[in-house]
């Protein structure tokens, strides 16, 4: 079982009382605002959940694993997520499995 945007909008309908359309739009906008901030180079800090940060990675040598050919991996900006202490504490003891 996986949590998706559909479940999140159902939740806003049930718990917050938004109508179906607003609930769906709100979930979409929630992730879009985070994307926009990151796109503009801002980190996003959601207290109690975690931080999304940006890292600029320099160019490094790489290889095409199929052909063995050497090709440079270009410099790029990537997003990293650091879970808050609170979230880490919540998942630590989980003994079922949801390995990614």
């Amino acid at each position: 079982m996986t949590l998706t945007k559909a479940e999140l909008s159902d939740l806003l309908f049930d718990k917050v009382g938004l109508n179906k359309r607003d609930a769906k739009d709100m979930v979409e906008s929630f992730f879009e605002e985070i994307r926009l901030a990151l796109e503009e180079g801002q980190s996003v800090k959601l207290s109690g959940f975690g931080n999304f940060q940006l890292r600029d990675k320099p160019q490094r040598p790489g290889r095409n694993p199929k052909t063995g050919e050497e090709i440079p991996i270009t410099a790029r900006r990537v997003v990293t997520f650091h879970a808050s202490q609170k979230l880490k504490g919540m998942v630590e003891d989980h003994h079922g499995a949801a390995r990614g």
Binding site: K5, F31, G41, G50, R77, E92, H94
Partner: protein
């Protein structure tokens, strides 16, 4: 951007809603995401990314102050993988500003 700035942006986008709704929505979404991971359930948001749990096996660690060895039990840690759209937008913007 902080949680309260995110709430303010959403409240601005939805002037037809009460300001309190944006705050409740953000809290409900984050709460559901955290609870889902705590239950071992993964999260998959198309265009944004996915959150999984990674397993860390038990290991012998050391107390850095005393040097005494301590056993660190197995645990799970949250892991995020950015989705295609997020990855491309963040990088494209970095390239044009370089």
């Amino acid at each position: 951007m902080t949680k309260s700035e995110l709430i303010a942006k959403l409240a601005e986008r939805y002037p037809q809603l009460v300001a309190k709704d944006a705050e409740m929505a953000v809290k409900a979404i984050l709460d559901a995401m955290a609870t889902s991971l705590a239950r071992g359930q993964r999260i998959e948001i198309r265009g944004f990314g996915s959150f999984d749990l990674n397993y860390r096996p038990p290991r012998l660690g050391r107390n850095p102050k005393s040097g005494a060895s301590v056993s660190v039990p197995e645990k799970y840690v949250p892991h995020f993988k950015a989705g295609k759209e997020l990855r491309e937008r963040v990088d494209a913007h970095a390239q044009t500003n370089a």
